[in-house]
């Protein structure tokens, strides 16, 4: 009986979420339940109060403070000056550079990761490939930040192992204008944590691509290209777009890796915020730290929103 009531309720909530209606309406909260203990009404909410208070205090309060300070004039009134400042000069340049690195590394990660994941899932290779790859991706996606930067300095830095090897082979990449500290170099480093994330995110969707669909298409005389164009890609598209968006947000908020790689010398939004916080640079208005962070939250917020919308869409076909 209780079970029935509860599942009915959670169904209602799911529907409410999908139609965009508020999840919890006041009468839902105080709606009398049939079970004996439910009559105590609001008491049932007490055990979850600590959790909500905690997340409010350590996540909501900082974000609210940050937003308030973004729109607050030095005198105390409301202002848009600090938001406008984001669209000019070095701040605009930092946003552009951040977006470039994030888009580049997200694109490389998505395409590369898709092929690798497909090879592992449907490639008819040995059976041990998939578990090994999954485990390794778990490790590699967590192997980020400072050590990752040093690993790439040892690999592709000016005296890195691969740089020297290529030099021996007659190709001096640094003479051709490559450096690890440019946007291209940085994107290449980011792919190290983008690729495993992509593989982990896309593998379940690829597993959902049924063999029967492919066989059916082949039986009807479809070529490989036709199969991908009319069946494979349309089915995968929401997951692919979702993964791309996730990877973008992932790269956009990276701080430790670019900081360690360039010693804080590259102008990306997180690095700029970091230097405002630690007072390393003279910035005309130190409050710009707040508006820069606000700009970041807006951009990452949009990407995460897009991701969850696309995720919901792709769940329809691939379960």
């Amino acid at each position: 009986m209780t079970d029935e009531v509860v599942s009915q309720q959670s169904n209602d909530d799911l529907m409410a979420l999908e139609t965009g209606a508020p999840v919890l309406t006041p009468e839902q909260v105080s709606r009398p339940r049939r079970s004996r203990r439910g009559r105590r009404g609001l008491l049932v909410w007490i055990p979850v109060i600590p959790f909500f208070a905690y997340t409010a205090f350590f996540m909501a309060v900082p974000v609210v403070v940050l937003i308030v300070k973004t729109f607050q004039a030095p005198g105390g009134g409301f202002t848009l000056d600090q938001v406008k400042a984001l669209f000019s000069g070095q701040y605009r340049a930092a946003f552009v550079a951040s977006i470039q690195v994030s888009v580049t590394s997200a694109l490389i990660g998505t395409v590369f990761g898709l092929f690798v994941a497909y090879a592992a899932v449907h490639g008819r290779g040995p059976r041990w490939i998939q578990p090994v790859l999954t485990t390794f991706c778990g490790v590699a996606s967590n192997f980020a930040g400072i050590p990752l930067a040093f690993a790439f300095v040892a690999t592709l830095g000016s005296t890195g192992v691969v740089t020297l090897l290529l030099d021996h082979a007659g190709l001096d990449i640094y003479a051709h204008g490559f450096t690890l500290y440019s946007l291209i170099g940085l994107s290449l480093v980011y792919v190290y944590f983008q690729l495993p994330l992509m593989i982990l995110v896309i593998a379940p969707s690829l597993e959902g691509l049924r063999k029967e669909w492919r066989e059916a298409a082949e039986n009807l005389g479809a070529t490989q290209r036709q199969y991908w164009w009319h069946i494979g890609l349309p089915v995968l598209l929401p997951s692919l777009a979702g993964a791309l968006v996730l990877l973008f947000g992932n790269a956009f908020s990276a701080y430790a890796t670019p900081y360690a790689l360039t010693g804080g010398g590259i102008s990306l939004v997180p690095i700029l915020i970091g230097s405002v916080l630690s007072g390393n640079v003279v910035i005309t208005n130190p409050r710009l730290g707040d508006s820069l962070a606000f700009g970041m939250i807006v951009i990452v917020g949009i990407t995460v929103l897009l991701y969850s919308l696309l995720q919901r869409r792709s769940a329809k076909w691939l379960r």
Binding site: N142, A144, P270
Partner: protein, 291 residues
Amino acid sequence: MSTAAPGARAATTSASILDRRSGRGRGKRRASFWTWFWLVLAALYFLVPLFSTLLFSLDTGVHQHGLKWYGKTFSDPQFWQTLELSFKIALETVIIGLALMVPTVYWIHLRLPQLRPAMDIISILPFVVPPVALVVGLSGAFQVMPWLLSNWWLILPLVYVILALPFTYRSLDAGMRAIDVRTLTEAAQSCGAPAWKTLLFVILPNIRTAMLGGAFLTLAIVMGEYTISSLLLFNTFAVYVYYIGNTQAYQASALAIISFALTWGAMMALFVLSRGRGRAGGVGQGAPVGR
């Protein structure tokens, strides 16, 4: 057409079974080449930087190799101090996180399933607020609330609980979903156990794997976290690695290898645990936070 369909389906199904049995020898050879091409390319991309770092860390002079940099690292008291600090912070994060999350997730599964969608949203929010932005907001909040000082030792674990929240929540949620929370609770209650005893002696042993899974993921994240700890001026392991990297490139490579081994250890423990007992949930879903 429709009468032929079942037969055709059976034929294709058995063909696909044959395909799987005979491995990659049968059918399109091209698929097999591209499979290996991408897998080998990925392996190279993953392993070459690690191998280069290893070579760097063993380089002790012109054409000389040895464990000098490792020896130097292990004999540096700073190494052990920062490692200990990071480990301590990681343990505190795990304890605070589990103490906060386990009762909450339990109660939501038991009595407030209507809160699940809200929990799903809250558990993505830490991704929306980049760590560096969180620090900006926190330092702004500190000015508003001077009694919460930034040199308070507990601040780091308290903030890390937020960073680890998505992983802890997903892991616990999957763990509780796998057991019948309601029946177990009702059974315990009909034996006369109060709520806290039910949670401690009935539910906890059943979600042990999920808890450990969340704990190891948290451990891996906290041990490598640089952004927040450096901006709040804590001398954690990642900050030490950065400092060494600025002064000693070769020793930094040794430290990078050691960090990788630590991450590897935590993730292998997680993997072994999750294999031992069904799905721990969230395994391998470790989206990087340390970036």
